[in-house]
């Protein structure tokens, strides 16, 4: 089939490359000329495992090309995927769907034959209906333009794998024709046994928000339990292990610590909460808001623990090393990173901050130039009064405590992700505090 992918970012590029890999002829569209030029040269502007190879392969075999001309895409393709950004609004709570409507306004006037628009961006419930009305009004083909919502569940860092072998596909649609198109375009994935859920557009839109909201809720829930452990003397890591055995619970996504971050989860939870409130589902909104509040309170919880760990040494004069800047390990993305939020709070309290991260120093430096950075793990400790583990990179679990113990001014470690085995650290002279494991 001939398909276009409109909006070539974290979602769009992997999607375009994956569609080519499935055997389609693909044209990617972006408004950013420089990006399009790089992509056409086979260069990959984002960091994703396996993506450069896929891009190189299919720009070379001619199945994949990029353009800034939306009319070219309209003339070429029978399926148009929409993967433009939906950042959070100026009010800080709902999606700004301007790019989605912008793309439709540019595309629709060129649609003079039957085709299917497949939205992949994360949007507020009700968007598909409005997009359909707009597209059919502007398109010469009118009602022969179908709109489907097919939300994307890929995880950054696993984008290629998640696009080629997703857990499931969801298609919110209203016509039999559209279902046929979706089944055809994803045929190889469906043949491999990936389930496709065909439903109405509202359910598809909600499913994306609901999934991310649940994941946020799960993290906030285990963080509330971590607080109980702090207060009552339990061990949250052991609780996670035990709960994980229960198939109704599962340990997946249950990571106690300083909360969730990144470019998706926080904004999706916020936007979903806002839309629940707008729809009058007040109770739902209140629950989600409570989950958000737990997440927002994590920096304070970590600050408390750090203050206690410092004992009678004042935080104002402390030199603190923060391990981790990325919002999670395996990425260089620092959007809404809890690690950087904690570093910020420590600095506000008067501490002098050095940040170490194996991958994200460059991106963090752009966002928060006020901190000192290094990617040298042992050197990051020099002269430190305390080190905080804020992002659970495997580098920290694999570090040799013995080799590091002489670097800091005092070997004092606060593990805010509760992922280290404290034993080897303690036996080599470190004092270790772990969030949610008092006295362990």
């Amino acid at each position: 089939m001939r398909v276009s992918v409109i909006g070539c970012g974290h979602l769009g590029i992997p999607h375009a490359a994956a569609m080519a890999e499935l055997g389609h002829e693909v044209i990617g569209v972006d408004v950013d000329q420089a990006k399009v030029d790089r992509l056409n040269a086979g260069e990959c502007p984002i960091y994703e495992i396996g993506l450069p190879e896929l891009l190189a392969r299919h720009t070379a075999d001619g199945r994949l090309r990029f353009t800034t001309s939306i009319s070219e895409a309209a003339a070429f393709a029978e399926v148009h995927f929409i993967g433009v950004g939906t950042p959070i609004d100026a009010d800080g709570r709902s999606y700004d769907t301007g790019q989605v409507y912008g793309a439709i306004r540019q595309l629709a006037p060129h649609l003079d034959r039957p085709c299917t628009i497949v939205g992949k961006s994360t949007v507020t419930v009700g968007t598909t209906r409005q997009v359909t009305a707009l597209a059919q009004r502007l398109a010469p083909a009118g009602e022969r333009v179908d709109v489907v919502w097919n939300p994307e569940f890929l995880r950054e860092g696993h984008a290629v794998q998640d696009t080629l072998r997703p857990d499931r596909l969801i298609a919110g649609l209203t016509t039999a024709e559209a279902e046929k198109t979706i089944r055809a375009v994803y045929a190889p994935i469906l043949d491999a046994g990936v389930p496709l859920f065909v439903t109405d557009p509202q359910t598809a839109e909600l499913a994306k928000g609901a999934a991310n909201t649940f994941l946020g809720l799960k993290i906030s829930y285990i963080n509330a339990v971590a607080d109980m452990c702090e207060a009552a003397g339990g061990d949250v890591s052991q609780i996670v292990d035990i709960l994980g055995i229960d198939p109704r619970i599962g340990s997946g996504g249950m990571r106690p610590g300083i909360g969730y971050g990144g470019g998706c989860l926080p904004k999706d939870v916020r936007a979903f909460t806002a839309s629940a409130r707008q729809l009058g589902a007040e109770q739902a909104a209140a629950l989600l808001r409570a989950a958000e509040q737990i997440n927002e309170g994590r920096t304070d919880v970590a600050m408390d623990l750090i203050t206690r760990a410092l004992g009678d040494r004042p935080i104002e004069r402390a030199r603190i090393t923060v391990w981790g800047a990325a919002f999670k390990p395996g990425t260089n993305d620092v959007r809404e990173s809890p690690a950087l939020a904690l570093a910020h709070a420590l600095q506000q309290a008067g501490a002098t901050i050095t940040i170490h991260d194996p991958q994200a120093v460059a991106t963090a430096m752009i966002r928060n130039p006020e901190f000192d950075y290094t990617d040298d793990l042992p050197a990051s400790l020099d002269g430190a009064d305390l080190v905080v583990l804020a992002t659970e990179w495997p580098e920290y679990q694999q570090a040799t405590p013995q080799a590091l113990v002489d670097r800091p001014a005092s070997p004092l470690l606060v593990d805010c992700r509760t992922t280290l085995d404290p034993a080897p650290w303690r036996t080599t002279g470190w004092t270790v505090h772990q969030l949610g494991r008092p006295g362990k």
Partner: protein, 476 residues
């Protein structure tokens, strides 16, 4: 909620009753430990029978003499699949039974008999408060400990607020004549009613909060059979063992209230919560289980457990957990009111002069437990507002009639539906999924059904000309 019957296939391999006692461990070693079970309700009766099944000699105690009389005669005071068979196999005096299981009301007898004492008494919500009422547990310890003249391990199984075990350990140390030789461990119970026998014989995991190696060793011996089958045996400290039970129940409650919140959003936005749940459940971090929207959770555990957890969080100053669970609780309680509203709407705006058939009275299927049952709560509310309510439940009618004597009860689903203006499906018994909508349609005054559990197949009912509505789903 996952439904369906317990896995009888797994129960059927149980060894034939052994005439000799004591029994044998999986390695063929004779079982020498003697166990007692204090409090023989849902948890205790099942635990006692299961321990006898594992080969131990067991003595059960309850302060309710009627219960003890029933159990001694091999009769089960409640409905729990497989439990009656288990009692018949082991209660002393029953023909062909192993005789390993006996019951008493004498504390002295219990203390003299047991090496390990399981405390399984109830821990309800305090009257007019969220906190847990510990008086039954306290009373059990106060009664037992002064009789502990020989080495013994007291093992708490009841669900208690964090900090209780440490307090009770001190109390035992003060009261027991055996001194240090009388110890305490905490071993929270995760069984599900309706699957209690299966869950006790083949648990997902065993968690023990202990303070000594001796306690750990004794409990390993008690649970040798499931551990040999591969059940993880997790050794923890007291607070972790107490918290893990609170944490598990509050997670399950959160998950149910989450999907019910999604149902609320779906109703407002015109989505379909059943499809939504199917789609998101495919993520292994979410999972399909406990992702069924409906009239919410009830029973003797989840509601009281999250409230007790909240109360304890407040005492400990961990306030954020509080607001969070309060929302979980209030979403849950509102589901019942919402069902009443849907029923009122279906009755044309008022219940006066309307006949309402209620299918289901227990808080979940495969049980006769009606404690804090959402189904009965809805039935009761409608009745109080002037509706003529007729209830049918496969196993819960006796308990329901005791709690709500003013409701009408019918012997079959068909009889309940006869003449009804609306049918409410409120507990997801398999029997209800197998009903014939056409046959019911013959006797109903109006073919209108509301599914409060999202468990019936809408198409089946609509095909038989019923107006079908479910929570969080489109009208047609």
């Amino acid at each position: 909620m996952p439904s369906g019957m317990p896995d009888y296939a797994r129960l059927s391999h149980l060894a034939a009753p052994q005439a000799q006692h004591p029994g044998l461990t999986p390695k063929g070693r004779p079982v020498t430990l003697k166990l007692t079970v204090i409090g023989t309700g849902y948890l205790g009766a099942t635990h006692a029978a299961a321990m006898a099944e594992l080969g131990f000699e067991v003595l059960g105690l309850d302060i309710d003499p009627a219960k003890i009389a029933m159990l001694s005669a091999g009769r089960v005071p409640m409905y729990e699949p497989g439990l009656d068979e288990l009692l018949a196999r082991h209660v002393e005096g029953i023909e062909g039974a192993s005789g390993r299981l006996r019951f008493t009301t004498s504390w002295q007898q219990v203390a003299e008999f047991g090496d390990v004492h399981f405390v399984c008494v109830n821990t309800p919500q305090k009257h007019g408060e969220y906190a847990c009422d510990m008086s039954y547990v306290d009373a059990a310890i106060e009664s037992l400990a002064p009789h502990l003249t020989r080495p013994a391990l007291v093992v708490g199984k009841s669900t208690v607020p964090v900090g209780s075990a440490a307090r009770l350990a001190d109390r035992i140390a003060e009261l027991a004549p055996a001194g240090d030789a009388a110890e305490l461990a905490w071993n929270p119970e995760f069984l599900r009613e309706g699957f209690a026998v299966e869950d006790t014989l083949h648990p997902d995991r065993i968690v023990v909060g202990v303070r000594s190696e001796r306690a750990e060793k004794l409990l390993r011996e008690v649970y040798a059979t499931p551990v040999a089958e591969g059940t993880p045996f997790v050794v923890a400290d007291y607070p972790t063992a107490e918290l893990v039970k609170n944490a598990a129940n509050s997670f399950l409650s959160t998950k149910i209230s989450f999907i019910n919140a999604m149902a609320e959003v779906c109703e407002a936005a015109g989505g379909d919560v059943v499809k939504l749940a199917e789609a998101i459940g495919h993520d292994e971090r979410i999972g399909h289980k406990f992702l069924r929207a409906g009239i919410g959770f009830g029973g003797g555990c989840l509601p009281k457990d999250i409230r007790a957890f909240m109360a304890r969080a407040g005492e400990l100053g961990a306030d954020q957990a509080l607001t969070f669970l309060r929302e979980v609780d209030s979403i849950n309680m509102r589901r019942r009111g919402h069902m009443v509203e849907l029923a009122r709407e279906a009755c044309g705006g008022g219940f006066l002069g309307k006949r309402i058939a209620v299918l289901g009275a227990t808080f979940k299927p495969d049980s006769d437990d009606v404690r804090d049952s959402p189904a009965l709560n809805v039935a009761g509310q409608i009745h109080l507002q002037g509706g003529q309510v007729t209830v049918y439940d496969p196993k819960g009618m006796e308990n329901a009639a005791r709690l709500f004597p003013t409701l009408a009860y019918a012997p079959t689903a068909l009889d309940a539906v006869r003449g009804a203006h609306v049918v409410l499906h409120l507990t997801e018994w398999r029997e209800f999924r197998e009903l014939d909508p056409a046959a019911l349609g013959e006797v109903a005054a109006i073919r209108r059904i509301l599914d409060g559990r999202n468990a019936l197949d809408p198409q089946l009912w609509r095909n038989a000309a019923w107006t079908f509505r479910a929570m969080g789903r489109p009208l047609a």
